[in-house]
């Protein structure tokens, strides 16, 4: 059993949102349904104002608030540490969306923000799916929240379950530059140009993710809440993560 975790180095992150777009493409997300969002905020005053940002996937918490509140056990903690949603069970009550302190969950029937025709109408589904874009991913696994979802369910980052779960047993580090592990690595990690993201096994003390956390003082978002995220941030000099306060997203 592994304990999958992610490390995001904010000193390298350029705020380009390639992770957001790659995730949406890989997982057939609706426009604006940013499983992997980048949260921007501004502080200070001219001329010494700051723009700050941090990418925010699902934290895949050790103590997930969402699992605790789900009335139908649709949201669950999987064997290898991911928090997943079973779309077979989800009733779309959104309790989990309210419980999640990180705001990483999306309801399928949310109103579109982007303007113009609704993509769900343009690429209408003929079956149970909520829509059917021509570019939809070939994998489908509703038990693990993978694929184009049905109507009325909640969805979120799966740590690219459909890629990671195919990795050979015993894989510790998912290095996108290594052809042997590249295809199993989460989309956001694969595409990240400055190499700000790492994915691997937190339960293995020798893993790259643990090395990064130890060397560069990894911190977790809103750590005081006790959710124990499995996503760590390296803040270095360049970045900042609001570890102790909640932030209003712009």
């Amino acid at each position: 059993m592994a304990k999958w975790g992610m490390v995001i180095d904010l000193e390298k992150c350029t705020g380009c949102q390639a992770c957001t777009i790659a995730c949406g493409m890989e997982n057939s997300r609706l426009p604006g349904e940013h499983w992997q969002d980048v949260i921007f905020f501004q502080e200070g005053e001219y001329p010494n104002a700051e723009i700050k940002w941090f990418p925010r996937p699902c934290m895949h918490c050790e103590n997930p608030s969402c699992v605790a509140v789900c009335p139908v056990r649709a949201t669950y903690k999987a064997e290898d540490g991911q928090v997943l949603i079973d779309w077979e069970r989800c009733i779309g009550c959104k309790y989990c969306m309210i419980a999640c302190p990180y705001g990483v969950r999306f309801y399928t029937e949310e109103k579109a923000t982007y303007g113009g025709p609704n993509m769900k109408d343009v690429f209408k589904s003929e079956d149970a799916h909520s829509w059917s874009p021509p570019w939809k991913m070939p994998q489908e696994d509703w038990k693990h929240g993978v694929g184009v979802q049905p109507h009325d369910v909640v969805s979120k980052c799966t740590f690219c379950f459909h890629r990671v779960s195919k990795a050979p047993k015993g894989t510790v580090d998912f290095d996108p530059q290594n052809p042997a592990t590249r295809e199993y690595t989460p989309a956001c990690v694969v595409t990240c140009s400055p190499g700000a993201r790492f994915f691997g096994d937190l339960s293995n003390p020798n893993s790259e993710v643990n090395r990064q956390i130890a060397y560069k003082n990894g911190v977790r978002l809103l750590d005081h809440l006790g959710n124990k995220p499995q996503v760590y941030y390296l803040t270095g000099e360049g970045g900042s993560v609001p570890a102790t306060r909640s932030l209003k997203k712009i």
Binding site: D9, T14, C16, I21, F40, Q177, V190, T191, S193, I250
Partner: protein, 929 residues
């Protein structure tokens, strides 16, 4: 019921049946129940079909990153960077992934069409009807043949945006020669970044973008380039950013810009400069570098006597005078006297020491008992001290002798010779005297609004942190003084010895080993082509005439010239990958022009141009194409890439290169023969790849087939290197071959002087033109200097329209996936906002989120205001992505703001030397609606 809720075996369907509740949202109750029946069938994980990976390269910016296109069951569903591609290295920027959405854009054009509504206008429905390719091509050829018969073939033009190389836009050169038009390829570069190419061209001899060695640089000084948003090649730049910011030593970054963006926020220092004043900063930095003696002596050279005469306000004689010689002699004499005095002092000390020893020896002889022992000890100490002193003196003498042996004879100043011996630069002292000596940091503070203290600090850091790179783009150069700004910035690279250096400005793009086609255009030119009346006609954009003697293209002038009929009016135009109706300054002029011209649009997507089109000959989208291209300048070594179709074309489209060939086949005379021989672009590409047989790629690419497999051909390394003022050439093993000055001039710095020209020969030649356009005296023309920018439009606020990180070339406005994440810094989800400073907003009664009017004498657009501390109080910022009125259902969404293109409030002003449109020089007023 509570039991069943927590019964893990209960499926959702059963739960719904048991409770009669249909989703907590409750809105689609029945639908949910029906759906859940089918859900059971999708329960098990499935993957359908075999996934195929095709090599291609990206289309969303000029960088051309290699991509792997993932296709399953004939559908593209993913795009990732190619791992063994030196540009993408397996990575992509956000835009790299857009291909899936672009291919399946629901607004795509499905085949050739012709207009049936003769009335043209923004709000006129063209009433397109589908036609066959044959009919469409015959219409084009009919018009072209008719023009030729009338002797008016120059009235046919092709306007091009992003070209990909010889298999598309490259074909137009031959077409022009065979058909007979000077307007065969009216490029868009003057509406892009021509100023940076012009600066490099006139100063170091390369009309090109530079290759930078970011991986090894320790200091990055960025002027108006949006390094982490818009500067190309974006993806490799970000890869290098990750390295620069985590290597040891960490690369220090200073950014000069007019507003705070992600680049400025990521940097170590942001200097918020007044728009168009970047050159003043760079001049003051050069002033500091010289007065503080921080210039690179190996590359630039030095005063013959090593005495720094760069003193603020003081002119320097060009040649050595008697005073210099006397001063040098006096200094030499003083040094010699000092040396003599020191030697004498040492000799005296030795005598004293020896006398002391003698005295002690005598005393030892005479002394007895305890006193003797003490004296003996003292003597031993004195002898030891003497021995040590002798040994030290000997060692110093030996070392001095060694140094003397290798010492080159010191230059002796001779009256009448240059006082400063320049090595690889040309004109430094003249530049100092005419411009730099008064360009103090305090002066620059007045002009630019950046504090003198910051200017001095950055100048010192830049000059003393080696290697370093100073780069600039449109923030600094899209102004009426843009080339002079750029020259001042580029000069910093030379002053600090970073030209062609490891970790510096590494060089320029080397060429790919393509094979030349075995067919000669000259053999197929008829008399008309060789000597028809078209030969006497200038290009419609008046490039290379007295009007624009130095510019490469002047697309923004075409509409004005056409409307005036000067030099003539166009009759027929093919438009490829460009849309000046939206993207040209003062863009509405183009609407008037296109009303009068037979417009042939080639875009596979709707757009503003196509609303005025008479004929549409839709291109394949990029993942459907077979196409080749050379890299955008990156690290200097040659890289070329190929697009292999990932899917069969979805619609009845034809690749642009083949459209040109098909038109050629229909031109009367030998032209048709030429194009029948070539037949199609695939033949061309296959033939060109033959060149790889002789020069295989580092990745083993030797022909067309291996090229398709790998997607890229490249050969490392870059051929030249400058180190400590010596130029080397790669000899196959290392940078071992030292280049002579003549070789440097031929191969590395092909300027008229073979030097980095701080006094630009080309501008000396065009001094009259400079005088006419800038009002500068002829003797000032050739030097980097401060020229006051002229601002277009009118109003009390500067207006800039930058490009965002997520903005792809041309087509991203119609992609909802892009709109939903664009301008994240200001919270964009649907529209882009006008950044306005709280003070500026308060003065105008504007609150955050208000709809405001931006207006000036050119036009007026509406947009939503974002009151923010991220911009200067005198500058408003609006990204240029949205405001389309004919680009598709999403781009044109109801109530989408801004209401129009940023170019509807951008005056058509051009920088006179490069012709670059001054997109960032405008003034506007802003008021609440």
């Amino acid at each position: 019921m509570s039991d069943s809720l927590f019964n893990p075996k209960l499926t959702r369907r059963r739960f719904l049946q048991a409770t009669g509740v249909a989703g907590a949202a409750g809105s689609i109750g029945l639908g949910s129940q029906l759906i859940s029946v089918q859900k059971a069938q999708a329960e098990a994980p499935t993957t359908t079909g075999q996934t195929v990976v095709t090599k291609s390269f990206c289309h969303q910016c000029p960088a051309r990153c290699g991509i792997d296109v993932y296709t399953t069951n004939g559908r593209i569903h993913a795009i990732y960077g190619t791992l063994d591609n030196p540009l993408s290295n397996g990575k992509l920027c956000p835009k790299g992934h857009y291909g899936v959405y672009l291919t399946y854009d629901a607004d795509r054009i499905k085949g050739p069409m012709k207009r049936t509504n003769p009335k043209k206008g923004r709000n006129e429905d063209p009433k397109f009807v589908p036609i066959s390719w044959d009919e469409a091509l015959d219409i084009v050829a009919g018009r072209l043949n008719a023009l030729r018969e009338k002797g008016e073939s120059h009235r046919f033009a092709t306007l091009t945006g992003r070209g990909w190389g010889y298999s598309d836009v490259g074909l137009l050169t031959e077409f022009g020669k065979l058909y007979g038009t000077p307007n065969y390829n009216l490029g868009h570069s003057s509406m892009c970044s021509d100023a940076s190419e012009t600066v490099k061209h006139i100063m170091d001899g390369h009309h090109a973008y530079s290759a930078y060695d970011y991986a090894n640089t320790n200091y990055l000084l960025v002027f108006g380039a949006g390094f982490l948003e818009a500067f190309r090649p974006f993806n490799p730049n970000m890869q290098k950013w990750g390295l620069m910011r985590s290597k040891s030593p960490k690369t220090k970054v200073t950014v000069v810009d007019v507003h705070l963006n992600t680049t400025g926020s990521s940097a170590d220092r942001l200097l918020l400069v007044k728009p168009g004043r970047d050159g003043a900063l760079a001049l003051a930095m050069a002033h500091v570098i010289l007065t503080e003696g921080l210039w690179d002596k190996h590359f630039v050279g030095d005063f013959v006597d090593g005495i720094n005469r760069f003193k603020t306000g003081a002119a320097i004689p060009l040649t050595v005078n008697q005073e210099d010689v006397d001063a040098w002699k006096a200094a030499k004499a003083e040094a010699a006297a000092k040396k003599d005095a020191a030697a004498q002092k040492a000799a005296e000390e030795k005598v004293k020491m020896l006398a002391e020893i003698d005295k002690l020896k005598k005393a030892v002889k005479e002394a007895k008992g305890d006193a003797k022992a003490a004296l003996e000890k003292k003597l031993a100490e004195a002898l030891k001290k003497q021995d040590e002193a002798d040994a030290k003196a000997k060692l110093i003498a030996e070392q001095r002798a060694m140094l003397e042996k290798d010492r080159k004879p010191e230059p002796v100043p001779v009256v009448g010779q240059p006082l400063f011996q320049e090595k690889w630069t040309h004109g430094l002292i003249e530049w100092w005297n005419i411009e730099l000596k008064d360009r103090t940091p305090e002066w620059a503070e007045e002009i630019s609004g950046v504090s003198a203290k910051d200017i001095i600090t950055v100048a010192r850091e830049f000059a003393t942190t080696k290697p370093a790179v100073a780069l600039f783009e449109r923030g600094a150069s899209a102004h009426t003084n843009g080339v002079y700004n750029g020259m001042a910035i580029h000069a910093l690279n030379a002053l600090t010895g970073n030209m062609f250096a490891k970790g510096g400005l590494r060089g320029y793009q080397m060429k790919t080993a393509w094979a030349k086609l075995p067919i000669k255009v000259e053999d197929y030119q008829d008399d008309y082509a060789k000597d028809g009346p078209w030969k006497k006609q200038p290009r419609i954009d008046m490039v290379k005439t007295k009007k624009w003697p130095l510019a490469k293209n002047m697309m923004q002038e075409i509409a004005i010239n056409h409307l005036k009929g000067e030099p003539y009016k166009l009759d027929t135009a093919i438009i490829y990958m460009t849309g000046a109706v939206f993207s040209g300054p003062d863009c509405t002029k183009w609407e008037e022009m296109w009303r009068e011209v037979f417009v042939i649009d080639t875009s596979p997507f709707p757009g503003e141009t196509n609303r005025f089109a008479d004929l549409i000959l839709p291109d394949h989208t990029y993942l459907e194409r077979l196409q080749i291209a050379d890299t955008y300048p990156y690290e200097g070594y040659p890289i070329s890439m190929i697009r292999t179709p990932a899917i069969k074309p979805l619609y009845d489209t034809k690749v642009f290169g083949d459209v040109i060939i098909e038109i050629g086949k229909r031109i009367k005379g030998p032209t048709a023969e030429y194009y029948k021989k070539i037949d199609n672009t695939e033949n061309i590409i296959k033939w060109m790849c033959e060149g790889f047989k002789e020069k295989p790629g580092d990745n083993g690419v030797v022909d067309f087939e291996t090229f398709k497999q790998k997607g890229v051909w490249y050969r490392k390394p870059y051929a030249y290197l400058q180190k400590d003022g010596v130029f080397y050439e790669w000899d196959g093993k290392g940078y071992n071959k030292i280049l002579t000055a003549a070789e440097v001039k031929e191969k590395v710095m092909p300027t008229p002087t073979g030097k980095f020209e701080l006094k630009v020969t080309e501008l000396e030649h065009h001094a009259d033109y400079v005088q006419e356009r800038f009002g500068l005296p002829a003797e000032r023309a050739p030097f980097p200097q401060w020229v006051e920018p002229r601002h277009g439009g009118n109003g009390d606020l500067h207006f800039v329209s930058p490009k965002l990180a997520g903005q792809a070339e041309g087509r991203s406005a119609n992609l909802p996936h892009v709109t939903a994440m664009i301008q994240p810094v200001q919270g964009g989800k649907r529209e882009v906002f006008l950044e306005i400073h709280p003070e500026a907003a308060a003065k105008r009664g504007i609150r955050d989120g208000d709809i405001v009017k931006i207006k000036n004498k050119i036009g007026e657009i509406r947009v939503r205001a974002r009151v923010t501390h991220t911009t200067r109080p005198d500058t408003v910022v609006l990204p240029m992505i949205h405001g389309h009125w004919a680009q598709g259902r999403w781009a044109e969404a109801k109530d989408r703001l801004p209401s129009g293109s940023t170019n509807e409030v951008t005056e058509n002003l051009s920088e006179p030397l490069s012709g670059l449109a001054c997109y960032h020089s405008g003034l506007v007023s802003v008021e609440r609606v």
